[in-house]
Symmetry: C2
Subunit: 125 residues, 2 copies
DNA sequence: TTTATATTTAAGAAGTTGCTTAAATAAGAA
DNA sequence: TTCTTATTTAAGCAACTTCTTAAATATAAA
């Protein structure tokens, strides 16, 4: 931002602005971490994957590809993002890898699943 | 997806796959709508804006620019996205426009604010 | 070992996001 | 009206996302 003659309102409440700055500082990396997780669920495909894992307990990339109607590499790349942020984990059974939700971020994601069910009921009924 | 000889596992559970497809269909546009909202909060700047509006009740683009340390047009463009999805609303007072959270999506976003507070406490204490 | 199956990885293209700068709009004060 | 302040809008650009296709990896079966 090269704009030094920035707006700084005449009636700006300096105390409020400082208080806000401190609020952000006090909460340190929490914003980055949380927004990172929300960005995962902010993609429709990944939200569906999370919802399906909640419902079915575990699913493999192949089945997800079939269910979602998209290529296996595309699904695999979404799963990797979810795994990288500790949202899901995989267990191998022969050639197949079954993915499931990790407990770690479930408290955050759980309300979304209810939100989906509730919202579609309103539309459907 | 041009890949017709798709993976379709030998041991795939056809019933489970069909059940999943129906689950997605039954919930119609809910996934698109919810992921759209989550994508808003999935940006660190916008998450901070939402958090600040929750804390301060209302703030103008100019103050937000000052608090967040970014240009006014950049802030304004984030506010527009939030307004377009009915998450915030503005009221004019002279030349200043004060933005605040709308009740509409508050149930969804409220847990995030608690999450931020809790998470930063863990780190700080 | 060769072949088939399940998954991942990598390179590249197309689309989206989020900033910048400059110009436009809108209201208040001189 | 002209000037200042607050905000929005628009064009352009760099970075990021998400897909595609092809190749690599890993396990199991012939």
């Amino acid at each position: 931002m090269e704009n030094n003659q920035s707006c700084i309102r005449v009636f700006a409440d300096k105390d409020q602005i400082n208080h806000c700055r401190e609020l952000l500082q006090a909460n340190g990396s929490a914003f980055g971490q949380l927004s990172g997780l929300l960005a995962l669920a902010g993609n429709e495909v990944r939200l569906k994957i999370l919802f399906l894992l909640e419902e079915e307990n575990e699913l493999c990339p192949c089945d997800l590809s079939d269910i979602l109607g998209m290529s296996i590499p595309a699904v695999s790349q979404h799963l990797r993002k979810l795994k990288d942020k500790n949202v899901i984990e995989g267990r191998r059974e022969g050639q197949t890898i079954f993915y499931s939700l990790k407990q770690e971020q479930l408290t955050l994601f759980h309300p979304f699943f209810k939100h989906i069910i509730n919202n579609s009921n309103i539309v459907t009924v």
